[in-house]
């Protein structure tokens, strides 16, 4: 279709405005991490490195980061196994209830986080507490894995659809055992999808607040929980702002990694 010059210019302007809107708040967080005024009045009067120094020595933020990393890695590992198994089952087999299975897997992502959160909370209290298992990292991992499975499932399923069955069939025709086909043919073809799925699942877990709030219990603090708890404390606001700035700056890394390691320019699907 031929777009007129005016149409192109209008579309370009809206896109530029949209991007400016997307990035303005993020740039302000970066700038405010140097703002000497702890209540971040605009425009900033003087600049200071004090908040960065304080944030780097904040034990609370460091512990929370460690908890987040652990929770993210465990949840991702669980999701990789369960999501890939489900994707193989749904895409390489035909069986009764196949549609229901895919719907069931997508459900934890579609339903509001608060519903998942209080459902898990109620279930843990009914089932785990009598067994002597308290709320902590374990319950957080269970909660996160539940919605991370979808991400891995979607990525692996999309890849399986794209590569089709012919390569695996050729491998079998050439006398490879199923295990050999899996190792030498299917797995290498799936690697980008597994990587993209793992990266997105980790990111989702690392960023999750709502389900975590209801599954973490009193002593376990992930980084988002720490941020949330300290958000309203005026004394801590500059330190929270530095952590936020750091997270924004680091967000460039996974996008680059995803693009480099997967053929998909979007680096995977949600």
């Amino acid at each position: 279709m031929h777009l007129s010059r005016t149409a192109r210019i209008v579309l370009g302007c809206v896109t530029a405005a949209g991007l400016a809107l997307i990035y303005l708040p993020l740039l302000l967080v970066l700038l405010n991490s140097l703002n000497a005024d702890p209540s971040f009045g605009w425009p900033p009067g003087a600049l200071t490195g004090e908040w960065w120094r304080r944030a780097l020595h904040s034990a609370g933020a460091r512990d929370a980061l460690w908890t987040s990393l652990q929770a993210g890695l465990w949840a991702t590992a669980l999701a990789l196994v369960l999501g890939s198994l489900a994707a193989f089952a749904v895409h390489r087999h035909r069986f009764f209830g196949r549609q229901t299975v895919s719907f069931l897997i997508v459900l934890p992502l579609a339903l509001p986080g608060i519903v998942t959160g209080i459902a898990l909370n109620a279930a843990f209290r009914t089932v785990l507490t009598p067994l002597g298992i308290g709320f902590g990292l374990f319950t957080v991992v269970v909660g996160h894995a539940t919605f991370c499975v979808v991400i891995v499932f979607n990525n692996v399923a999309a890849r399986l659809r794209r590569i089709g069955p012919s390569l695996a069939e050729a491998s079998a025709d050439l006398g490879a055992r199923p295990w050999q086909t899996l190792r030498h043919v299917t797995f290498p073809a799936l690697r980008p999808a597994l990587f993209a799925g793992a990266l997105l699942a980790f990111a989702l877990s690392f960023d999750e607040v709502v389900v975590t709030t209801f599954t973490a219990g009193a002593g376990t603090r992930t980084l988002p929980i720490w941020i949330y708890e300290n958000l309203a404390r005026p004394h801590q606001a500059p330190v929270v702002n530095v952590v936020a700035a750091l997270l924004i700056a680091l967000s460039v890394l996974p996008v680059r990694a995803a693009q480099r390691l997967s053929s998909d320019p979007a680096g995977g699907r949600l």
Partner: protein, 282 residues
């Protein structure tokens, strides 16, 4: 597909593949939802605030008859719809530009630019807006010379921040759909004498609709269940999410019954959207 059920061992392999994820989902997820649904039929003793395990539909009756809950539910629904419309309005031209005007390097760069904020974190972004919309924040500083005052913390702020948070979720499926639309379809339409508007209506719209619906699943259901944004920039605004959150410790059965409202709304929406084939574009 490669494995048919006639092949020996296929059935056993399918069972081995399906059992772990299904067991996990049924035990950890459906089980929890069942516990939640069950507890919606219990009550809380008003004096001891212990949960009383007797079967009653009082909680649901209270939600359906108490005008407070109806107002909150309608307000939440309204916000979710407005946020979805705002995102669609902004995402459509951006996706058109990315897919049709930008090429090569620029297109890739724009895609990265839209994706990167997704990794910056939900709280970080909501927090950024809290600072911007504050009394001494940049919004008021910019509007002051014009004699205007920013929206402050409240319902408007919630709509702005939610639309901001979910915008990339709307752009990505739209961009993917437009990029997949074969150029020769557009040329064919022009060759057959269709004007720009006619082509947009008859060729582009059918391709865009499922993607628009797929994006709206995110914007709509994420907005329906949100409660943190409301707490961060909402001032005294009450939405379903934070009413549920505030009832969890006070009256779990009531919170459980309340959480059925967004679930029903989301499931209805998913079912409607599924007919339009949008779930395949997710």
């Amino acid at each position: 597909m490669s494995v048919t059920e006639r092949e020996p061992g296929a059935r056993a392999r399918l069972a081995a593949l399906l059992a772990p994820p299904l067991l996990w989902l049924i035990l950890a997820y459906l089980g929890s939802l069942a516990v939640l649904l069950l507890s919606a039929f219990w009550t809380t003793d008003p004096f001891t605030s212990d949960v009383v395990h007797s079967f009653t539909a009082d909680n649901f009756r209270e939600i359906l008859t108490d005008p407070v809950y109806r107002t909150v539910a309608l307000r939440t629904l309204g916000i979710a719809v407005v946020v979805t419309l705002l995102d669609a309005l902004l995402a459509l031209p951006m996706a058109f530009f990315m897919a049709w005007v930008a090429t090569g390097r620029l297109r890739r760069a724009l895609l990265v630019a839209v994706l990167t904020p997704l990794w910056a974190g939900y709280l970080v972004k909501a927090y950024a807006w809290r600072v911007m919309l504050g009394e001494h924040g940049i919004v008021n500083a910019v509007l002051a010379p014009l004699g205007l005052h920013g929206p402050g913390y409240g319902t408007t702020a919630v709509v702005i921040v939610l639309a901001y948070l979910w915008l990339p979720y709307m752009i990505l499926p739209l961009h993917a759909a437009l990029e997949r639309l074969p150029a020769h379809h557009l040329e064919a339409s022009a060759d057959l004498g269709a004007g720009t508007l006619r082509t947009l209506r008859s060729v582009v719209a059918p391709a865009v609709r499922p993607a628009l619906l797929a994006g709206s699943v995110f914007t709509f259901s994420l907005s329906l269940g949100d409660y943190l944004t409301v707490q961060i920039v909402g001032g005294r605004t009450q939405l379903l999410g934070n009413v549920i959150a505030s009832q969890v410790t006070l009256d779990l059965p009531l919170a459980a019954a309340l959480s059925a409202v967004p679930v029903v709304l989301v499931v209805c929406y998913l079912a409607a959207v599924r007919r339009a084939g949008a779930l395949d574009s997710l």
